[in-house]
Symmetry: C2
Subunit: 420 residues, 2 copies
């Protein structure tokens, strides 16, 4: 038996995800697929469109065999934390052979080469990066320049057998799936993991495309869901883009749909509550961002409108949105420092599984370095104190999510795991 | 010049309030009326229907000459705190001659007699109260029995010239306006105030009546506002009950209308946030109530529905609602203890005034024992640290109120005082 691992949000699941799972199983010859998926809050700093159990069901109906929850500290983290948190857990399951991901370039060698430089940080890289940042350019373009310098420096390239043209490099590191792919490979290298990275070229629409094609972007699906009034019309629009089984789950009556602005009031309340002490204790929030939030608080209108107000040339909308979600959920620098120091604290939380996945679970029992959390009431017995804290922070995030998701699950402790 | 003082909520202002102001001015021969009014949250543990500035304007358009804000710690307090906080500030202005209030009985001697017993607590009162409470009856009925015992005990009655029949006593202490009236007079006695209490018999509908008559209850008006879809129909319904000037202000386009359930999500968020530490630090919340909140939190649906779930034979809906508002606004036992010990911390915060009230303000400057807060930016200069804290807690309550009141004022510091 061999198994692929996928890091995902499935927000929501669509044909592109199905394509990735099938293609990777086929090309690697693996027969099982373990997914580690964001819970109720996703990496771009937003609540997920539907709750984590509904999204897990969608995945299980379309080729995933087991869905684990990526703890909220990683699921809402920057690309690096997101990747490291997820890869660390997949690695420690001891049950994954291939880490599979889509990328715009589809070229594992280039991704590997860039990951190598970013992890090793040769002098040419470090010097250029420092010099560029001093000029006041953004981190992204300073990094691009620094990478280029290394690729142009013969000795390092020859020694490490790296090769890439300037144009290709630029292309690679400016695409969102490539960026995540690089972080995944960096994480595998950091953890000296035996898992083999494997990428397939991303097909279909671009990341932010609004076109609802056969392989659409998740963003296009989300737009359709928020903009289409009639359920019948929506079903018709989405049936080209989402596999039937998954679509039925998504549109079934007991699935609540959540938008960022559903949190507008709660978010404003949390900002007011913390205004006196400022927001610098929360992950990603710099002094500058904290001050900007305070300065604009009196003209707060809605969550999304507030992000638009605060974003700037240097600070993206997603960054601000992620900061706000961290404030909302009390996700603190102090805590993530503990988890990082603990070699990325984790546990195996099963959101859902196929009935046929018993052998995967046996593999965990044999090889896993992490405790397996099947029934939540076992948590205090199987988790150590730091794992327990991370777990409870995830439960809290779920409760906050379900304030606005009136169709959502009430209490995770009362739920049985999803088995399909 | 003589001046009446009125303690009010004006939620919203109606003919009954107009009647009270006019009748009291007429009977006392006073020419001015100072109102101390709840801010954005009122004593039954709820947000006010409209913000405090709108309600102050309504009052100024109908006979009030000056409207002061009752700080939020008192405005949302039990009858005793509400009365003591308000009376203390009116007393310390040094500008009020008569404290005027409506009562169902309209009989100042009876109110005075009961207030005297409650403040003096003769042995017959104390003993009966203790005995009754031991039996497990409610505080209200234990107190009734204890009062009766005193009235039946000849020596005390003769010595103090008190007289009241059993039936009358029962009638008096079971009506909401009488209960508040007794607390007002108790407060005047406690503070050895020179202000003379003055009551007029309450006319029109009963406290909770839903009939929209010429002198309706505020509750009936609130029901009409929430239940009537068409603005035109609403105006027609209310014009019998609310003086024209006040009605125009209430129905004008820039006045937001707020219901308790507008706070449902924010309230649930605050309860979740504090769930781990419990709620006993907040005013009015006993260990029993805190436990009940925790026990029912998973089935929270809305603010009002949650109050219904938690209330019981012993604990009224208002009590629960008041507890929740205290939790929402961080109103803590520890803080109110500081204010009580400080002889009911206060300041003179002017919400609005008639242009003709300059002489009242001059009277404050001469006789007031409290700092006058006309422009908010002066606060740090004129208030002592405890007053400043109380003031900032009121500002915070206003900001929370305006999360849901999308038509509300944005930042109090930027507002000019209302002058009519």
């Amino acid at each position: 038996m061999s198994t692929i691992g996928i890091i995902a949000e499935f927000n929501p699941f669509h044909n592109g995800h199905l394509h990735l799972i099938n293609k990777c199983k086929e090309l690697t010859g693996a027969d099982k697929c373990i997914v580690i998926m964001s819970g109720d809050f996703v990496q771009r700093g937003a609540p997920a469109l539907t709750d984590k159990f509904t999204r897990a069901k969608m995945a299980l109906s379309c080729g995933a065999d087991l869905v684990l929850e990526l703890p909220v500290y990683y699921s809402t983290g920057s690309a690096e934390f997101f990747a490291k948190g997820a890869v660390s857990i997949l690695d420690k399951t001891g049950a994954v052979d291939y880490l599979c991901f889509g990328s715009e370039c589809g070229d594992i060698d280039s991704i590997n080469a860039i990951a190598e430089i970013l992890n090793k940080e040769p002098n040419a890289y470090k010097d250029t990066l420092a010099k560029e940042l001093k000029k006041g350019v953004s981190f992204a373009s300073a990094r691009e320049k620094a990478l280029l310098t290394v690729f142009e420096e013969d000795s390092f390239i020859k020694k490490n057998k790296l090769k890439i043209t300037k144009t290709k490099l630029k292309e690679i590191i400016s695409s969102p799936n490539n960026i995540l792919a690089i972080e995944y490979v960096r994480a595998l290298k950091t953890f000296k993991s035996k898992i083999k990275p494997f990428t397939v070229k991303r097909e279909g629409e671009e990341y932010k495309s609004e076109v609802l094609s056969e392989i659409p972007s998740a963003a296009a699906i989300r737009s359709a869901i928020f903009d289409t009034a009639s359920p019948k019309e929506l079903k018709n629009m989405l049936k080209r883009s989402i596999p039937k089984g998954a679509l039925d789950i998504l549109l079934s009556n007991d699935t609540g749909i959540v938008s960022t602005d559903d949190f507008s009031d709660i978010m404003q309340f949390k900002l007011l509550k913390d205004a006196q002490k400022g927001f610098e204790e929360y992950v990603d929030v710099t002094q500058d961002i904290s001050n900007k939030i305070l300065k604009n608080l009196d003209s707060y209108e809605s969550f999304e409108n507030f992000c638009m107000k605060i974003k700037s040339k240097d600070i993206t909308y997603s960054r601000i949105s992620r900061c706000l979600i961290h404030i909302l959920l009390d996700i603190k620098k102090e805590n993530i420092a503990d988890y990082v120091e603990d070699d990325y604290t984790g546990y195996i939380r099963i959101l859902g599984q196929k009935a046929s996945s018993k052998d995967l679970l046996s593999a965990f029992k044999k090889n896993s370095m992490l405790p397996v959390l099947n029934r939540l009431k076992d948590a205090p017995n199987v988790l150590n104190p730091l794992q327990m804290r991370l777990f409870e922070e995830g439960l809290y995030a779920g409760r906050v999510y379900n304030i606005v998701n009136t169709q959502g699950y009430e209490n995770e402790y009362r739920l049985k795991p999803v088995i399909m």
